[in-house]
Amino acid sequence: MTTQETRALTAAPGASPASLDAGSKGAPTASSTGPSTGSPAGPARRVPPRRRPRAWRWSDIAEAAGALAASFFLTWLIFNRLLPFRIMPLAFFAIWFVLFLPIYWFVTKDGQGTTAAKDRVATVFVMAGALFTFTPIVFVIGYVLYRGLKSLSGNFFTQTMQFVGPLAEATDGGALHSIIGTLEQLALATVIAVPLGVLTAVYLSEIKGPLARPVRLVADAMTALPSIVAGLFIFSLFIKPHIIGQSGILGSLALSILMLPTVTITAEQVLRVVPGSLREAALALGAPYWRSVLMVVLPTARAGLSTAVILGMARVVGETAPVLMTTGGTTLLNPNPLSGFQDNLPLFVFTQIRSSQESQVDRGWAGALILLVIVLLLFILARLVGSAGPGRRRFRIPIPGRGGRRRGR
């Protein structure tokens, strides 16, 4: 590619950043073949090495590693030779980090100057911050995995707790009744809450009726509703007056109360980012408003809406308080959510982990692990649903008129 072409690319209106990138990357490659083939542009010249600005080179890694090692040994010296007492390992890490910063600063400053040193130290700060926030998540998930896998066996998915005594091994019995209960209650709650939530979102963002403001206010406030209140509500509405006994469906109702505001607010925000130009385009074709919402606005926001649904499901799948009051809890397998006590996973974890028997506590961890896996599966499902459609696309409203940007990715 010649310089003129590169310039033309730069000057072309609407040229995508990707093509510019390709142009600038392509140029040195082309000219590096120049000397060997006998460049017509002029005498052969030395080609500067190809590089990417701000990429880590070996010397940079060596600097960082050296600073890390130096600060480590300095900390070791202080702790093990100079100080008269021992300190917790956590303090060791803290002092190591504190010593690392000035040492790294001086090393980089010596080699590359103040600007680079500032840049590097700031990078270290940002990365340390990311690590600091990420660590607890890793520990939580890691610990559940560690404890859960110990007592997880095949019969955890095929057996119930019906004939399991308090002194049985942790690998005896299973949570089939709880898993079935969780899945059924979650499905029922979704079936109840999602149509309501999406319709409310359509009302808030598309129809914008006179009730939109109070409805939005209530929905916002409901996100902070303590989950036990939802359980109490259903309890006092159905169970206390003996209308329906404790059962899976009542658990679903309590969960759907918690799910509704999450689905509504997420769906409304998703609908609001659908460009108004698409609604106008649909109306200009002669569509009634309801058809333009049904066939253009909702499908455009499809991926975001599925995220809203999954977020709502993930919000309630681990709720213990509402189901504690409404489903009853049992050790028996009851696949019928409409009548009779039902168990579910949070309740299973709750009852097992309260026990004084170590084996039951272990079983509780296995239940927690299964709960985590269910949430993970829900999120994977959301991504799959979100990326399906014409071609493989995530939820991203393309900027009309800039098709090049899309192709550049």
Binding site: A12, A281, L283, A284, L285, G286, R291, M295, P400, G404
Partner: protein, 277 residues
Amino acid sequence: MTAPELDHTRPMAPQEAVPGPMGGVLEGVDVSCWFGSRKVLEGVNIKMDAGVVTALIGPSGCGKSTFLRTLNRMHELVPIATLAGSVLLDGHDIYGVGLRLTEVRRRIGMVFQKPNPFPAMTIADNVAAGLKLTGKKVADRDGLIEASLRRAGLWNEVRNRLDAPAGGLSGGQQQRLCIARSLAVSPDVLLMDEPCSALDPTSTRRIEETILELKDQVTIVIVTHNMQQAQRVSQHCAFFLAAENEPGRVIEQGPTDRLFSDPNDPRTADYVNGRFG
């Protein structure tokens, strides 16, 4: 909202077959527009004949886009918008009681400034979207898609990827896809609101060629900032201008050649010669 004058004098009889160029005759009669209490357009009378491309030119903020949006009742989508006067499509007032809002918009299509294909649909679905959105069934859907894409001059570029998402097309192709989408519901009039302002020169030329090919099939009204474009594509031209703090008015209108070569009004002459605007 100010109630538009209902046109009771004209018969509501079904339209007779018009010889010559296809398309409808659109006529704005004494159209004024407001946004809230601000009057943006006053007393516009323009007749847009079938077989003729009418260009609306003028500097920014002179009300030409607003006028265009009154022509297919998109103006009223703005909650505070009101209007006076009437718009006649083949003699029937589109704001009158005889025509349904959705029917008006189907018969008077619109192409917007920025290409806005439906991102959740494939190219073919985009073209046929108007049928789905108006609840119409067509026996030969594929034939209609092909015919519409051919009329918009896009068929040869997309014939092999009709099932690809519409967002993958270039800006110019997207705009021609929008034209094809508008044509698929067989409108009598096609309104174009600066259809080339977001496009590069090559795409602009393709759109202009498309306009000239469509001219005998459908009445075209185009708003443009580009005076060369107005000269290239239009036969009739209206010049809008708004003085400071005053609503926009039509200063002058007539055959495009005459308006550009021998304007009556000195302001028109200044504008078409690029001395302001």
